[in-house]
C-alpha cells in the first residue's frame, strides 16, 4: 500500500508555509507547481546530491527557466566565500526579485541557500528540498539560515522563512546509515522535549525506522516537523521557548569542539549530550530517576553513541561556557521535567554539573 504524503502548515505570523512529507514528492509536478513560486529558478545543490536528484526535480518543473549551481559537498564549504559563489550564480543567471532559490541537499545546502536567498536583492523566495533526515526534521524548518566563520558556527546568517519545504522521503534511500541514525537523534530529541507519545512510539518502532520503512519515516518526520513548527511559530527569534530545541546541544557542541568536529556527526554529539542533560535533570531532582536510562537505551537502540569522550571535565566545562558565552556563573542548559516537558535554566547547583562532567569526561 502506497504511503500518502502529509502536509504541515507553519505559521510564524509574518510568514506561512507548508511542509510536505512523503515519498515521490520530487516527481510530483502538480504539487511542485503549487509550492514553488516564480518563473525563474536557481537550483542549488552539491556534487553528492545533484547527480542523484537534480534531473528528477528539474523534469518535474516544466515551463520554468532553471539554472543550476552545484557546490562541493561538506560542512567546510559552508562559508561566506561559498555564499559569494551563489550570489555570482544568481547574478550571472539574471535572477531578479521574483526568482526562487531551491535548496536541494542536506543542512549545509539548506543553511547556505537560505542565507543567499535572504540576502540576494534583500530577499527572494527560497524553497527547501531537504535530502537528509537531519535536514528534513530540523534545519529546513524554522527559518534559521547562515554560514560558518572561523570564529564559530552559523555566526553569519539571517532569519528567512522558506516559501515551502518539500521533504521527499524517497531521497533517504541514498543516505548512509550513520547519517540516518544522526537524524534519528533529533527525532528522539523531539520526543524528549515535547511528546512522550512520540518517545513511546520510537521505543516500539525503532527497527522499522532503522529499516527505512516509508510509513514509519513519514510518521516520525511529520511529528518532528509539527513540534518544531509549533515551537518556532511561538518564538521565531529564540527569545525564550525556541531554546528548548537545543536540548542536548550545549553538551553536544562542547563534545564536537573537543574532538575538532571530526570524530562525531552533529546528531551523534547531540545524542551523548541528551544523555548527559537527562542525567543532570535527574541528578538535581527535576526528572524521575528512571527516565535517563530509558533515553540512553533508546539512543543506543538507534545505534547512536552514548558514552562521552574522555577529554577531561575541565575542558568540557570551558567549552560549554564558550558555547554559551558565559564567563561566570552557571551555564544555561535545557533540562527535562519529564518525558515530553523541557525547560531552559541556569538555576541548578553547579556542583552537580561538575560531578557529572567528572564522571563522564574524566
Amino acid at each position: 500500500m502506497a504511503v500518502a504524503p502529509r502536509t504541515i502548515r507553519v505559521d510564524v505570523g509574518h510568514a506561512r508555509y507548508p511542509i510536505d512529507v512523503g515519498p515521490g514528492l520530487l516527481g510530483d509536478a502538480q504539487r511542485l507547481a503549487e509550492r514553488i513560486p516564480g518563473k525563474d529558478l536557481l537550483i542549488l545543490s552539491n556534487t553528492t546530491v545533484a547527480p542523484l536528484y537534480l534531473a528528477r526535480l528539474g523534469a518535474a518543473l516544466p515551463g520554468r527557466r532553471i539554472a543550476e549551481c552545484v557546490l562541493p559537498d561538506g560542512e567546510r564549504h559552508k562559508t561566506l566565500a561559498t555564499a559569494a559563489i551563489v550570489f555570482d550564480a544568481l547574478v550571472e543567471n539574471r535572477m531578479n526579485r521574483d526568482a526562487t532559490l531551491i535548496a536541494l541537499g542536506g543542512g549545509v545546502i539548506g543553511d547556505l541557500g537560505g542565507f543567499a536567498a535572504a540576502c540576494y536583492q534583500r530577499g527572494i523566495a527560497c524553497v527547501q528540498v531537504p535530502t537528509t533526515l537531519l535536514a528534513q526534521v530540523d534545519s529546513s524548518v524554522g527559518g534559521k539560515t547562515g554560514v560558518n566563520h572561523p570564529g564559530g558556527k552559523n555566526l553569519i546568517g539571517a532569519f528567512h522563512q522558506p516559501a515551502a519545504v518539500i521533504a521527499d522521503t524517497d531521497t533517504l534511500a541514498s543516505l548512509p546509515d550513520r547519517e540516518l541514525r544522526a537524524g534519528i537523534a533529533e527525532i528522539i530529541k523531539y520526543g524528549c522535549i515535547a511528546d512522550a507519545a512520540l518517545f513511546d512510539w520510537l521505543e516500539r518502532q525503532m527497527p522499522r525506522l532503522l529499516g527505512r520503512d516509508p510509513e514509519a519515516l513519514v510518521h516520525a518526520i511529520t511529528r518532528s516537523c509539527e513540534i518544531k513548527a509549533g515551537v518556532v511559530g511561538r518564538d521565531e527569534r529564540e527569545s525564550g521557548l525556541r531554546a528548548i530545541l537545543n536540548f542536548g546541544h550545549t553538551f553536544g557542541h562542547a563534545i564536537e569542539a573537543a574532538t575538532a568536529y571530526e570524530r562525531y556527526l552533529h546528531g551523534e554529539a547531540v545524542a551523548i549530550g541528551m544523555r548527559l542533560a537527562a542525567e543532570l535533570s535527574a541528578r538535581i531532582g527535576l526528572l524521575a530517576a528512571g527516565v535517563p536510562a530509558r533515553i540512553t537505551a533508546l539512543l543506543a537502540a538507534a545505534g547512536l553513541p552514548v558514552e562521552a569522550p574522555r577529554v577531561g571535565a575541565g575542558r568540557a566545562m570551558s567549552l560549554m561556557r564558550m558555547d554559551k558565552k558565559v564567563l561566570a556563573g552557571a551555564v544555561r542548559v535545557v533540562l527535562l521535567r519529564s518525558l515530553g516537558a523541557a525547560e531552559v535554566t541556569a538555576d541548578y547547583p553547579g556542583k552537580d554539573l561538575e560531578e557529572l562532567l567528572a564522571e563522564h569526561f574524566g
Copy 2:
C-alpha cells in the same frame, strides 16, 4: 542662540526608533547613553571620518567596551569582501548577540555596517551616526542595508532597521561643498514628492542651506527624515508606496551607469533625473506646465547639474530598462501630479519618453 536638536520617531510596526537631528550630538553623553544599547560596541568608520569624529564619539560613551574597525573610504569598498572584514572584527573583538555596531560615516559605512549588523549572529543592534548630508536625509533612515556586486548596486543586502539614528549636523562642517549639494538634491526630492511647503521653503532658504546655517540644516534634515519615515512606516519593503522615494532615480541610475559612476555623484545624477521626470510628467499632461521650470531652477540654485550628458537616447533607454529589469513594455517611473504629490506608473505614452530622451541625451 543655540539650535535645539529635534527628534523624529519612526514606527515600522515590528520596530520603532528615534532619529535625532541637531548640533553637538556626538558629544552628548547623556543622549548617547539612552540611544545606544549594549555594553560592547564596535564603531565602524572609514579613514576620512574616523580621524575627525571617532575620538569625540568614543569619549562620550563612558563605561562601554569599545572596539574600532576603520575601512578605506569609497564606494568601491562597499563589497561582500569588505563586509567579511567587519565580520572578522566583530569575531576578533568577541562581540556577542547583545553588542551594538555603530556606523559612523556616510552612506557606504551606513549600508555596509547595517548589513554586517543584520547578518552577524543573525542580527545585532545597529546605531547609524551619519556624517554626510545624503546619509542624514536618506540612507541612514529606512532600514535598507547592503553591499554592491559587480552585477549591480546593493544586490546583496537585508532589511534591518537601526536601533537609533543620530544625525549630528556639526559633522557637516567638514563635508565638501559638492557633497553638500548632492545631499540637497535628495531634500529637494522630498519637497517634490511629498511636501510643497518644503519646496517653497527651499526656494526661499537655499542660500542659508548652502551656507550651512545650523537652523536651516536642522529644519531641512528633520523634514526630510519625517517624510521618509512616514513613507517607510507605511511600506517597509517597497511593495508600493516606498517606490515614490525613487523620484528621479530611474533616469539618475541610467545617467550614473552611462558615465561609469565616475562623472556624477549620486545626488547629481538624481538632480538631472528629477528634472527629466518632471518634464515627462508635464509632457504627458499630468503636471502643470510651469512646474518643471521651478524644479529646474531650484536644482540650479543649489548648484546641481540639470543638463543630461549627451550619451545618446538609445543608450539611456536601454540603461533605464536594465535598471528596472523591463525587457518589453513601458519602464515604471515616478511622476508628479503636482508639487508634493507623486505616483509610480508605467501607464504613459512611450513616444513621450522617447522624445524626451532624444531631446536631452541626443
